[in-house]
Amino acid sequence: MTITTKEGDHAYTTQPAKILAMKDLTEDTRYFKFKFLDESIVEEDYKPGQFAIMSLPGVGEAVFSISSPPTRTDFIEFGVRKVGSFTEALFNLKVGDIVNLRGPYGDGFDMESLGGKDLIIVSGGLGAIPLRSVLLYVEDRREEFNQVFFLNGARSPADMLYRDDIIAMAQRGIIESHLSVDKDDTGEWPYNEGVVTTLFPKIVDRVVSEKTTAIICGPPIMYKYVIQELLKLKIPKDQILMTLERRMKCGQGHCGHCAIGGRYTCLEGPVFTYYDVQHIKELI
């Protein structure tokens, strides 16, 4: 996906995309796969962690993290939780229906600059949506990175986003994956039980602090405890990357809603470092 620059296009021009597939991920979260009708649009021109804005005439516009990696072209994927009027309308659409998209926006994870590094990727809850883009990118270009650890937390097996995909990924073993649920109410969960931080003992011995970049996304409460673990491992604060959520209307630094101090999350975020968090008031 890329902002097109055809004659007459402008910053708010949307591109129609067709729903190729959708699948329920949890009770209230659904996966969507889109393909642009205009075949000249290249779907790979974005960074993991960037977001797009969907538009449905009569309903409005809303912001969603891109869930597919730029390494896989010809389609673009999203994970969407039904929480408001826009997502309600989106969930009522069928395969083949059209949604208008614009983007990509924001400053994502600069994967190229992380080449040769160790990565610790920590996901909790909905964090799996943007981090799926990171994980698939790393799987597709595994040789560019050194050690890669993935720690995933969910409330229960039923609440785990992309559950089958993540379990399959753990089994492929391209990325060393450790999975946990806070509470297993099925009795059939074969992996760890406990909050995501209980997975750290599985990797601590092998972490080389200064070579490691941590990429985390999850609910606000998770950041606090995961960052404590990462600091214990002496990961430098500017090598702890996290992606944050704010209200956005325009995606281009004009509407003002995502302002944190003088920064616009839509331009300078949504990816920030822990160093930023410590020095920018109100970030988390």
């Binding site: 402008h10 910053a11 708010y12 005439p57 009569g58 309903v59 409005g60 516009e61 809303a62 939780r81 929480v83 408001g84 826009f86 997502t87 208008n100 959520e245 704010r246 209200r247 209307k249 325009c250 281009q252 630094g253 004009h254 509407c255 003002g256 809603h257 302002a259 101090g261 003088g262 920064r263 008031k281 109100e282």
Partner: protein, 347 residues
């Protein structure tokens, strides 16, 4: 900058000429307040004013306007027509306000709706004398060098007419018979006397305005914010009248026929409830204190970091219109007071 002189009695002829260029708007008094309204004849204009309720931002980023129309067959952008709008009588502070909006909307990412309006707008400035709420001298925006097409400085017997753009120059060339290029030594003396008179008329000031960014930074946790937050009504008047407040919301409207509809932008304010609320009802700024702090921090501190100057142009509208006296003067005074009281760094 090219400068001409115009005799005051020729001004009505100039208004007739400028009216042929597009829709003319200018300051008009009504209901006890001034506003920029459509001008039919010279007599409608009243240049003896301090501030309109809403500044010229209403021509560039109106409080409500459609951006997209759609029906069941498709959608199309909504842009204003090409007909020029001319606004006359704009004061220096408001021209600075437009310059600040231009930097935001016409920077790296151009806003197409703003750009179209801006290209269609001809700005003719007019000099003014301050009242007790004007603080443009403190904010350094009492004079203006760019951002206008023409600017009229009203002296005793005549106007000095400053040309600020190619568009302005074309108008001046067309108005050749009303203008003179002969500016005498006496005219310059007149201008200097005018400047001195005006400069001496300011009654309000914000001392050390340029140091405010640091003071706000140091006072992030000050109880001053809670005191103002307690008083604030979250009515949004400050944003409505501020010439640089431009935050907008976007909403879709379906027409009554349920066949078609439109998307519109609506002026928003960070002081209003739900400004920072995301889907799922998590509100990043649920209380008035947090929202008011964003308003003043963004305007008076963060803009300096980003653009080198605050986004307050000293027009005095917040001073005049806030119903509970929260404005750039009272906020800065309280913050400076806080520093003086607690840290003994002031004289």
């Amino acid at each position: 900058m090219k400068t001409y002189k115009m005799s005051k009695d020729r001004f009505p002829e100039f208004i007739e000429l400028i009216k042929t260029k597009g829709q003319l708007f200018g300051p008009v008094k009504g209901n006890g307040h001034y506003s920029f309204e459509k001008i039919e004849k010279f007599e409608d204009l009243d240049f003896d004013y301090q501030r309109t309720v809403i500044g010229p931002k209403k021509f560039l980023t109106p409080s409500r306007y459609p951006t997209l129309r759609y029906d069941k067959t498709g959608q199309s952008d909504v842009f204003v027509s090409d007909e020029p709008q001319i606004v006359i009588g704009v004061h220096p502070c408001d021209i600075h306000g437009i310059n600040i909006l231009d930097r935001l909307f016409l920077g790296n990412i151009k806003d197409p709706y703003y750009e179209k309006r801006r290209n269609n707008l001809i700005i003719i400035g007019h000099s003014c004398f301050p009242d007790e709420n004007c603080i443009c001298k403190s904010t350094g925006t009492d004079m203006v060098e760019d951002g206008f097409d023409l600017f009229f400085t009203e002296l005793e017997k005549h106007y000095l007419v400053w040309v600020g753009s190619d568009k302005g120059l074309s108008i001046a060339i067309e108005a050749e018979n009303l203008l003179s290029e002969e500016i005498s030594e006496e005219d310059i003396q007149d201008y200097v006397r005018w400047q001195q008179k005006r400069s001496g008329m300011f009654k309000s000031e914000i001392p050390s305005f340029k140091y405010l960014a640091d003071i706000i930074h140091l006072n992030y946790d000050s109880k001053v914010w809670d005191q103002f937050g307690e008083k604030c009504l979250s009515c949004g008047t400050c944003s409505l009248v501020c010439p640089t407040c431009n935050c907008f919301n976007v909403e879709d409207r379906i027409n009554m026929n349920a066949e078609d509809g439109y998307r519109e932008r609506i002026l928003d304010s960070c002081t209003l409830p739900y400004y920072s609320m995301v889907a799922g009802n998590h509100d990043f700024r649920p209380d008035r204190t947090a929202r008011l702090k964003l308003y003043y921090t963004h305007k008076l501190k963060e803009y300096i970091g980003k653009w080198g100057q605050p986004s307050c142009v000293g027009c005095g509208r917040c001073v005049t219109f806030c119903p509970v006296d929260i404005n750039v003067i009272t906020v800065s005074e309280a913050l400076f007071g806080e520093v003086c009281e607690n840290q003994e760094v002031c004289d």
